[in-house]
């Protein structure tokens, strides 16, 4: 499903990813766990080609992501959810969900904003899945953060994806909305057999939802096991609790999370 080997990514001056090797099997629910700045976002973006790696291989559904001439074909099968939701604020909720159908529609007619009744019905069905069908005709920026993130999930679902990547999907949400969003992700994993890869920095949430945890620290994988096997020592290794400044950042993150 997803196979990553010898993946390196270097931004000018900093090494974001160092020799990443891991594979995700169909139907897995994987949590990438690590402090902010560890490289989780970069890794997720390498999977759907939003970031081009310095070297290494990423194979998704049997296609080499960074060599294919039909990147859009790969991306169509991979939904993505973002920390900042990334909805088009001035469009309606339904239009935002229909954006997920774009890769399945004719470029010319969709640019004139024509969608088939089938696409509209499917988009409404996706909204129903996340419990927001009654908001379909409201502008996206009128919704609360948690609702916007659920629209983001509906947009990803509208793609009929085989894989969903979620980049810190609950980092800007209050605990209740966070649980709701992760519950939905869990249900699409269980009911639709969609493979889900989520990045989180909150240990509690990670152990609650993950089947498998991949711990990342400073661009390298330091833990890759079933979630039940995560020990205090592993957490210390992922977060480097002994180290001063990093530790401080985590505490700050969790405090702001609690107050959000």
């Amino acid at each position: 499903m997803i196979e990553i080997s010898n993946l390196y990514k270097e931004y000018t001056g900093t090494k974001a990813l160092k020799n990443i090797n891991f594979a995700v099997k169909p139907g897995e629910f994987v949590v990438l766990l690590g402090p902010s700045g560890a490289g989780k976002s970069t890794l997720l973006r390498c999977i759907n080609g939003l970031v081009k790696p310095t070297s290494g291989n990423v194979v998704v559904q049997g296609v080499q992501v960074h060599e294919t001439l039909q990147l859009e074909n790969v991306r169509r099968q991979v939904g993505m959810i973002f920390q900042q939701f990334n909805l088009v604020k001035r469009l309606t909720v339904l239009e935002n969900v229909l954006c997920g159908r774009l890769a399945h529609t004719n470029v010319f007619t969709s640019c004139l904003k024509f969608f088939s009744q089938q696409d509209i019905d499917y988009a409404l069905h996706c909204l129903q899945r996340v419990g927001l069908e009654h908001k379909a005709y409201q502008r996206a920026d009128q919704l609360s953060g948690g609702q916007q993130q659920r629209v983001g999930i509906a947009r990803a679902l509208a793609q009929c994806p085989a894989i969903v990547l979620a980049d810190e999907p609950v980092a800007s949400l209050d605990p209740k909305s966070a649980d709701r969003v992760l519950d939905i992700l869990q249900s699409i994993n269980k009911q639709d057999a969609i493979t889900v890869v989520v990045s989180l920095h909150n240990i509690e949430l990670a152990t609650k939802y993950a089947e498998r945890i991949v711990g990342i620290r400073e661009g390298a994988i330091v833990f890759d096991q079933s979630a039940t096997l995560l020990t205090e020592g592993d957490v210390e290794q992922i977060y480097g609790m002994a180290a001063g400044p990093e530790n401080e950042e985590i505490c700050y993150k969790q405090v702001s999370y609690a107050h959000a």
């Binding site: 900042q84 990334n86 001035r90 954006c99 774009l102 890769a103 969709s110 983001g152 793609q159």
Partner: protein
């Protein structure tokens, strides 16, 4: 017990310039330089209070001859006034059509390559820096007298401003939705339609209406070089020393400019 640190401070401590000879010299040089530029420009433009005082009786004389306005020419002004509005409408509309491709080419994040980016930026700068009167002179020579060269002149000059603003606002959009749509596998044109245009549209509509107001004002003088509209009447009455007619024309222009401003702000309020 440690003394508490002050919790506010000046970003840049003031330099008492009289305390340092170097700073004082610098300040004095700057003042002298500014004064120099003003005196130099005054010489170049024959700026003189005495001349103004000497000309004052003439100004009063002309103002006297401008009154009362000759209202009897009003029926003759209806057609040129309508033509002026028509010129401004098409001049602005043609400019908007040309602006859309230019805006996309001249924005760093949507331009396909550096060459097209630089050349479209150059074209936009060029058309913006050439005034509509100069364009009108060129187009009158090219397509003949009448309102059509006026339309072309306004369109060419407006593209420069509209294109630059559109390109700048495309460069300033929130990149998040663009990334999200790319991630769904949407094609380039779909990303432009769904993630970029909705973000720039409100500002662009406001700008186009504002450009229309400016274009109407410009259209009132295009007739001076033979490019149609009420400006032709204005220059004719001036050449024939019919100052009372001129006053009427100026009043019509004033009323129409106010009217166009009002209509434009009404549309803006309605659609935003």
């Amino acid at each position: 017990m440690p003394t508490p640190k002050p919790n506010c401070f000046l970003l840049k401590p003031p330099i008492p310039w009289f305390k340092s000879t170097g700073a004082m010299l610098k300040q004095l040089t700057l003042i002298a330089l500014c004064l120099g530029i003003y005196i130099w420009s005054a010489n170049g433009t024959n700026l003189s209070v005495a001349e103004l005082a000497k000309g004052l009786p003439n100004i009063i004389d002309i103002l006297g001859r401008m009154l009362p306005p000759n209202i009897s020419i009003l029926p003759r002004l209806i057609q040129p006034t309508i033509e002026t509005i028509q010129i401004s409408i098409w001049g602005t509309t043609l400019a908007i059509f040309a602006t859309l491709p230019f805006g996309l080419l001249a924005a760093r994040n949507t331009s396909p390559n550096v060459f097209l980016y630089n050349s479209s930026r150059f074209i936009l700068n060029a058309t913006r820096s050439i005034s509509e009167i100069i364009f009108a002179l060129i187009f009158v020579a090219a397509v003949g007298l009448g309102p059509f060269p006026g339309v072309l002149a306004l369109a060419f000059h407006s593209v420069g401003m509209l294109g630059k603003f559109l390109a700048d606002s495309i460069e300033n959009i929130d990149h998040g939705p663009v990334e999200a749509l790319q991630a769904t596998g949407a094609s380039k044109w779909q990303v432009i339609t769904y993630a970029i245009l909705p973000q720039v549209l409100p500002d662009f509509v406001t700008l186009c209406l504002y450009r229309w107001e400016l274009n109407f004002r410009s259209a009132t003088i295009l007739g001076i070089v033979g490019a149609g509209g009420i400006g032709f009447e204005l220059i004719t009455s001036m050449r024939l020393f019919m100052y009372e007619d001129m006053t009427t024309i100026l009043i019509v222009v004033l009323v129409m400019v106010t009217f166009v401003d009002y209509v434009s702000s009404y549309i803006r309020a309605k659609i935003l």
